[in-house]
C-alpha cells in the first residue's frame, strides 16, 4: 500500500472521507505536494534586449514554475502567452532556466517560484 498523509478540514473525518477538497493536506503518489526549490525577484526592462530576464535553476528537467509581475501594484499571473495588452508578460520554462519577458515597457519586478516537481 502506498504511503499517504492526510489532514482533514474541520468537521470532516480523515479516516472515512474520500472527498479531496475536504482536506487541508491530501498527499499520496497521485496527489503530490509541490516542493519549493527557489524563489526570488528580478527587475526586467525596459527595452530589448533588456526586456528579458533569465533565472538559472540547473535542475536538468522542466520544473513546475510560477511567476507574477508587479505592474503598478497589481500582481499579474505570468503565463506562456502575453495576450493582454494591459499585462504583456510571458514566461518560458526550460531544463536549465526560466526566461521572463516584459513587453510592457518600463521596468517591471517579477517574483518567481521554482519547484522541484517535474512537469
Amino acid at each position: 500500500m502506498g504511503m499517504t498523509m492526510r489532514v482533514s478540514l474541520p468537521g470532516y473525518d480523515c479516516l472515512t472521507d474520500g472527498t479531496i477538497d475536504h482536506y487541508s493536506i491530501y498527499a499520496d503518489s497521485d496527489n503530490v505536494l509541490i516542493k519549493e526549490f527557489s524563489r526570488g525577484t528580478i527587475n526586467i526592462g525596459p527595452t530589448f534586449p533588456n526586456n528579458q530576464g533569465t533565472i538559472t535553476h540547473s535542475l536538468g528537467y522542466i520544473p513546475l514554475a510560477f511567476s507574477f509581475a508587479n505592474s503598478g501594484g497589481t500582481q499579474v499571473f505570468v503565463s506562456g502567452n502575453d495576450l493582454s495588452s494591459s499585462f504583456p508578460f510571458h514566461m518560458n520554462v526550460g531544463t536549465s532556466n526560466i526566461v521572463l519577458t516584459n513587453n510592457k515597457g518600463g521596468t517591471i519586478t517579477f517574483s518567481y517560484f521554482i519547484f522541484y516537481d517535474q512537469l
Binding site: M5, E36, F68, S111, F113, Y116
Partner: protein, 129 residues
C-alpha cells in the same frame, strides 16, 4: 540531529539515498510547500466581440499572487491564463488573471458572435518576496 518528516512516492525507500531526492518525495518538512491562502469562484457575462474584466473581492489584507481557470457556460473545457479556443469551439481568450489590494481580476476576450457567461475558479497564494 534535526527532526524532519519525509513521505516518499510509492516504490522509493525514504531511508535510502533515493529518499533524499526531492522529486522522489510527496512531502519534505525541510522544503516549503506552496500554500493557497484563499480560493473561490465567480461568474460574469461578457458581450459578444468584447474584452471584459470580471472582478471579485479576495478579502485578504495584502495583494496576493493569483491564478485561475475559466470555463464558458455550455462548454466542457476549462482554460488556463493565456489560453484560447476558436470558433466553433468555445471562442474566447483568457487574457489575464491579476490581483490588486481589494480584488482579483480576470480579463476575457469574448471573440464569439454571442454574449457569453464565464465561470471562474481562482486561487490566491502566499505572499511573494
Amino acid at each position: 540531529m534535526a527532526e524532519l518528516i519525509r513521505v516518499s512516492k510509492q516504490g522509493v525507500d525514504v531511508l535510502g539515498s533515493a529518499g533524499t531526492v526531492p522529486n522522489n518525495l510527496i512531502f519534505d518538512s525541510n522544503l516549503n510547500t506552496f500554500k493557497i491562502v484563499a480560493s473561490g469562484t465567480t461568474t460574469g457575462t461578457i458581450p459578444s466581440g468584447s474584452l471584459g474584466t470580471i472582478h471579485v473581492a479576495h478579502g485578504l489584507s495584502f495583494t496576493p499572487p493569483v491564478t485561475a481557470f475559466v470555463k464558458r457556460r455550455g462548454f466542457t473545457n476549462a482554460l488556463t491564463v493565456g489560453a484560447f479556443r476558436f470558433f466553433p469551439q468555445d471562442d474566447y481568450k483568457f487574457f489575464s488573471a491579476s490581483a490588486d489590494p481589494g480584488s482579483v481580476n480576470f480579463e476575457i476576450n469574448n471573440t464569439s458572435s454571442n454574449a457569453g457567461t464565464f465561470d471562474i475558479s481562482y486561487f490566491c497564494f502566499e505572499i511573494p518576496l
